[in-house]
Symmetry: C2
């Protein structure tokens, strides 16, 4: 990582924006734990992992992870209805929260990193889910205690290798 943005900047922006979104959108208080770095997202207890990509001079991915119970609690607060099992509305609610947190993170990071675009969130639901970035690019994770449950917010971010706007792949495949 270059000195444009430090690990501390990333965790500080994640904490700030996660606290705001949970407070304003859900009326829920969160308490950040210590930020950590690791290669893979591992969710042994199952369950909901949302992912959204960034693109600009820097590229990467943002993620929100929690178990089914916390996903239902977030959805119940957001949609003002009771959810006890993960369904499509719950997956969409987690996707929306991700869009807000990572979108606000992106806006806050742009003064440091230049303009960034955000892709659409994809929300994964499964058992023993593991998520690895290509070549083991590190995730910076901030764990939050949210009314007794755990929500993890993650970013991986690095300078774009090569001219993304024209060709990101660096792979020449012969035209037929």
């Amino acid at each position: 990582m270059t000195n444009l943005i430090t690990q501390k900047d990333i965790s500080s922006l994640l904490i700030d924006n996660t606290e705001k979104v949970f407070s304003v959108m859900l009326g829920m208080q969160v308490s950040p734990g210590e930020a950590v770095q690791h290669q893979s997202i591992e969710r042994a207890d199952g369950n909901v992992v949302s992912l959204v990509g960034f693109v600009g001079d820097w590229v990467g991915t943002g993620s929100v992870c929690c178990n089914s119970d916390m996903a239902c609690r977030i959805s119940s607060r957001m949609l003002m209805a009771e959810y006890t099992a993960v369904n499509e509305e719950v997956l969409d609610a987690v996707g929306e929260i991700t869009n807000m947190i990572i979108g606000n993170f992106k806006d806050s990071a742009e003064p440091l990193l230049g303009p960034l675009g955000l892709s659409t969130p994809t929300v994964i639901y499964g058992r023993n889910v593991r998520a690895r970035n290509l070549n083991g690019q590190l995730w910076t994770t901030v764990p939050f205690d949210c009314e007794g449950g755990l929500v993890e917010v993650k970013i991986c971010l690095g300078p774009c290798q090569g001219p993304n706007k024209n060709s990101n792949t660096g792979v020449l495949v012969a035209e037929s």
Copy 2:
């Protein structure tokens, strides 16, 4: 979807680029089946789902899905070593193949859609994995028979809602 790109264009570009990447990079032949559209990726037999985001005037996600056995076969061909279980090298190999296929798709789609940037692939491994895009945005899927196994290549794509470059979120969260 506007008339800039049709479902048929998408499946045709996916077929063309998947055939090329499998042939050139892996020396493997693939036969496309009929393209389908659906809301969720469902992988009951487990296993490997890679995702990479697009950003531009259009935004979306590309994905390559296969079971563990096929992921190992792809990796064995790519890395010229034998893989019998999914490990980090296998996840990276599937991520690289995704980067190539979706990167080439992006290059081919840019004349229709304008410049697109690609985020870094994230590769998911788990049981009963389900992947849903926010608000149920449809995936266009082309299934490929690859030497007796199944590889699915997927795209979801839609016009960017709002000024992505400045703020994608459309969410106002009060500054503290």
